[in-house]
């Protein structure tokens, strides 16, 4: 009876791992290992058990890793899609720059009263060359609009923020503030203690901006959003 039970167990055991090894062999994932205990019949249909179990575990680990990779792929593809399509969008989004500002009334004529900008967090700024737009801080001081770009002495900052250099070459720009578009020219401001101090104080009030030292050192580039057609083309003053 005991011998019979033993034979039955061996038979079931061999049958089970014969199927495992057969599957692994079909997938090319089974390799025989020297000095391994062989459990099986004399015709060689059944192969090493430990090898089969180890190969199965590795295979499952690989599958789980692939599935984790697919899950990681979802946000990567989503953000990548947003980044790729942002260039053709009407204006920037919260995270990515945008394309040409199209929507919104184009305001012309007399210079507006910019005091309302004191309550505006960010504006959309688009250069004419290239036609790219981004969100940017803004300050008004003595009836004029100013924007700044920081980290300009930092190599990473210079790589990240290319619009200031582009604006220096060609300052023609369009800004969109509260849904209305205004044609302006960016003029870099390098000197003028009262302007630097006044704009810094306004930026400090709104955003906790440092002070005029950053502008004087060149780490922060300050631009005036001057009216278009005043003979300025992005040059400094």
């Amino acid at each position: 009876m005991g011998q019979m039970n033993g034979n039955l167990i061996d038979s079931l055991w061999n049958s089970r791992y014969a199927r495992i090894n057969s599957t692994l062999q079909r997938r090319g994932q089974w390799e025989p290992v020297d000095n391994e205990e062989v459990v099986g019949s004399e015709d060689g249909a059944v192969e090493p058990v430990a090898n089969a179990v180890a190969a199965g575990t590795t295979s499952n680990l690989r599958k789980v890793l692939v599935l984790v990779g697919v899950l990681v792929l979802i946000p990567v593809v989503a953000i990548g899609t947003l980044a790729l399509t942002s260039g053709s969008a009407d204006g920037p989004s919260a995270f990515f720059g945008g394309g040409e500002l199209v929507a919104g009334e184009l305001v012309t004529g007399a210079e507006p009263d910019w005091s309302f900008v004191g309550d505006v967090g960010t504006i959309e700024l688009q250069l004419l060359d290239p036609l790219r737009s981004r969100l940017i801080w803004v300050a008004d001081y003595e009836g004029k609009l100013y924007v700044v770009s920081g980290y300009m002495t930092n190599p990473i900052g210079r790589l990240w923020k290319r619009w200031p250099a582009q604006a220096e070459r060609d300052g023609r720009a369009v800004v969109r503030i509260e849904g209305k578009r205004y044609e302006r020219t960016l003029v870099r401001i390098l000197s003028g203690a009262d302007i630097l101090q006044g704009v810094s104080e306004e930026l400090g009030r709104k955003y906790g901006f440092g002070g005029p030292g950053g502008i004087e050192s060149g780490n922060v580039w300050l631009f005036e959003l001057a009216p278009r057609g005043m003979g300025t083309t992005g040059a400094s003053r």
Partner: protein, 55 residues
Amino acid sequence: MNKVQALLDWVFEENRVYWLIGGVVVGVALVVLFLPGMGESIEATVLSWVGGWAS
């Protein structure tokens, strides 16, 4: 556990995993492009993460 194993076996049968990856890529791209508000929602999520790390 058997169900998980069965799912893994089903996914990795033949070249089904490649179709799965391709489907995920195309599906996510289509959702981001054509589902209104999805782009803004993703950006808001990313910004909140960044804000959380920065704070």
